[in-house]
Amino acid sequence: MRLWIAFMLAMVLLAARGHAAELATEIKALDTSNFAQKENAIAAIASTGDARVAAVMTALNDGTLLIRKSDRLIVIAEGKGTIRIENAATGEALGQAAEADLDKIAINNKIRRQSKVILGNLTLFSEDPAVRLKAADDIFRSRDLSALQPLKDALANEQDPRVKPALEQALAALTMMSDAPEAERLAAILAVKARGGQDAMSLLASAAQGSDAVARAAAEALAALEQTRSLWESMQNAVYGLSLGSVLLLAAIGLAITFGVMGIINMAHGEMVMIGAYVTFVVQDVIRSSAPSLFDYSLFIAIPLAFLLTALIGVAIERSIIRFLYGRPLETLLATWGLSLILQQGIRTIFGPTNREVGTPSWMSGSITLGEITLTANRLAIVVFAALIFAALLLLLRHTRFGLEMRAVTQNRQMASAMGIHTARVDALTFGLGSGIAGIAGVALSQIDNVSPNLGQSYIIDSFMVVVFGGVGNLWGTLVAAMTLGIANKFLEPFAGAVLGKILVLVFIILFIQKRPRGLFALKGRAVEA
């Protein structure tokens, strides 16, 4: 391999010396307004094999290949304002020039393509395997038959196990489009099909024109690929749906708990989410100014703080407002709505009405690809986070004294009270817990949404839908409802559009409630029948 590279380098160097004069002469032919002549000139430039060809072609494509008016010398310009120029054929620096002293070389799409292919051919022989890989892919996409010969040469010399298949696929693509014997073209179709992907599909689609055996084979291959693609798409939608479902779960689960235990809807729930997001902002702001090295841990610091703050606010709300409205759920709804207006305006007064920038820790940036499915790391983190919160709540409800009391009050308040459960305390703690979870949901949502005073408003109706759809019987109802709504939304989106999809989901829920007024997982028994 190395020996071969050294050999090629030597060849190129030798060739460069021998052809310098030739390039300098051929390049002059670009100084014409006739596009056909320019194409010829470009072909001639490419055939010199000069080391400067790549630089010339790149400059031509970028529009930085210019003509100096004084002596019609072709130059490559660099920089804006003060332009430094160099001789295109030799690379010799020629100092500075004014824009007015230079003429542009106009190019059209055909020339752009031609120069790209030439660049592709050149890069096929690059030393860097990544560059060769990209060149192979470019040729696969370009369908330019003139690249056939260089491709064959490159393939003959290629040793890298990653680059070789790419070259073979590119060759297959070109063979398929060429007038090679039918058997060869049929084999090529199979190779292209094996590669798959969007480019292979558009290639096959153009090969499927006509009615001969090749076209039929291409059409078949295309159909097979399309099936695979729709399968991947469904899986991708399901993953997006899970991600949206996790967001809904985070936003709604606190609401579901308070609704289950106390029978009230907390309209200020969205504002707790918003406050959690603002806690994240403040934590990051402090970290940025005092301990920048801690930035990657900012979310871990924000989560307990957000929980504590919103839980305290929640308990305060319950003690100061909600307990006086006990037994009047509709009034509670109005009072908490009023509270949400005050909290929103309060945050707007303190932090301003505009979006606040919340940074993403480095471990949460980037994305994960599995097959044809991609998911950004922050979305994945939210899925994991929602699962953790759900599991923690489940454990809390099942295996702690407080959880037992909460379940008892949910099922039958009077009986629970008669058994010695301090229901007022359970109410306050439940409200605090629900609000606290909303707060940590806010920390998570600050990573994917704009942190503004309206953040909570955008989730509140969706959260209500999750709660009424899932029912208040147990947490699994909330989980199933959130995931169903998330996935339904994402599957409706492609053919109904995002807005119409959402409308359809809302209408579905309105109809569903008629069928099961108390949601999917309703508590059974006399206590819940009014």
Partner: protein, 377 residues
């Protein structure tokens, strides 16, 4: 008959409100049209339009009172019926523009020309006639309320669940009307109206007439609500509010009574919306926003639900306060509104009407049992 009953029952609040409405209907247009503009008692055009707007809101609050104050159904989506009535009227006004639009197309409203539509969608046909539009103002909100209520009440969706799905209803409608391909002007809604029944909408005479029409509509709605609530039917409706299960066990079809109240209420809200649109000159999907419907609930609560004049008072006062606040102290308005919500629910469960009339408060207290068993569900 209604008048007779009014005098007999002697509901002073309703009588005073009716009298005030007549006075308003005569005085405001007269002061607007007959006094010179520099006179101190002159009512300028914008003030008349503003009072007209308040009266439309008052009608919405009244309609909400019929379902919430008397039947115990808290609808968080009454703004939807208001907006639908408004859109029906807006469609008529759009058709009246004719070829005077920006694009000069005699058949299509401007936004359709802009979207490259070639013909009028089927649901726009008929709106060139005022009578048809007037029927639709009642029919569309009424039908939606009837269908929605039919299914919801039959399935015994009640309490918080019902409030949440009415909110979902208006939210879904808002999203739908924001879409351009719905054919209702999308984001911008319907605007640039020229005239109504051949009269220029900008002329003082038309504006004064619209104002009088609003007063009369509110007057009539108040009488209708009065007649309903004081009838045997109204007694059953009130009984449903206070003890739904008990009423059902007594042999009444609870869902039919609820459906009746809900549908009538939606029609009144539709009329309010239809009168609102020509006076403010625009209707857009923002009217469907859930926040608007909740605000209407607070007008009713502040004025005093379960009394017919309370919501009218509440709507006018709160909106007057809103106009003043948004002009003088815009950033404080939401604080004030939020505090109103809290103060009314915590300290004034009977609203302002309860403060004004002690006897009414006493009577109402004996009507509403302190703890409703189903409320705690």
């Amino acid at each position: 008959m209604i008048i007779h009953r009014l005098l007999r029952v002697g509901d002073r609040g309703v009588l005073i409100t009716l009298a005030l409405l007549v006075l308003l209907a005569i005085l405001v247009p007269a002061l607007h049209l007959l006094t010179p503009t520099d006179s101190p008692i002159h009512v300028p055009a914008y003030a008349m339009a503003l009072i007209g707007k308040y009266l439309c809101y008052a009608m919405l609050a009244l309609s909400l009172d019929l379902v919430w104050g008397y039947c115990g159904i808290l609808s968080l989506g009454h703004g939807a019926f208001f907006a639908l009535g408004g859109y029906a009227m807006g469609m008529y006004l759009m058709r009246q523009i004719g070829s005077r639009g920006v694009y000069g197309n005699p058949d299509l409203p401007d936004f359709m020309v802009f979207l490259n539509w070639t013909e009028l969608p089927w649901y726009w046909h008929g709106f060139e006639w005022f009578a048809f539009a007037a029927i639709m103002v009642l029919f569309v909100p009424g039908l939606l309320a009837f269908l929605f209520g039919f299914f919801a009440f039959r399935s015994r969706v009640s309490g918080v669940h019902l409030s949440i799905i009415t909110q979902a209803l208006t939210f879904a409608l808002m999203l739908a009307f924001f879409r351009n391909d719905m054919g209702f002007g999308g984001n911008n809604g319907l605007t640039d109206f020229k005239d109504i029944l051949g009269f220029n909408l900008q002329s003082t005479g038309t504006r004064a007439t619209l104002f009088i029409a609003t007063c009369l509509a509110l007057f009539a709605s108040l009488l209708v609500c009065f007649a309903i609530t004081r009838s045997r039917l109204g007694m059953v409706i009130t009984a449903i509010r206070d003890a739904e299960s008990r009423t059902r066990f007594l042999g009444y079809r609870v869902e039919s009574f609820k459906l009746f109240a809900f549908t009538v209420s939606a029609c009144i809200a539709g009329i309010a919306g239809a009168l609102y649109v020509p006076q403010v000159g625009i209707i857009n999907p923002g009217e469907f926003a859930p926040a608007n419907s909740i605000e209407a609930v607070i007008w009713t609560a502040i004025g005093g639900r379960g009394t017919l004049f309370g919501p009218i008072l509440g709507a006018v006062l709160v909106n007057f306060a809103k106009s003043w606040f948004t002009g003088a102290l815009p950033e404080l308005w939401l604080f004030a509104l939020g505090a109103l919500f809290l103060a009314v629910t915590l300290f004034l469960p009977k609203g302002l009407a309860g403060l004004f009339d002690r006897r009414a408060t006493k009577a109402a207290n004996s009507q509403v049992p302190a703890a409703q068993p189903e409320a705690a569900e």
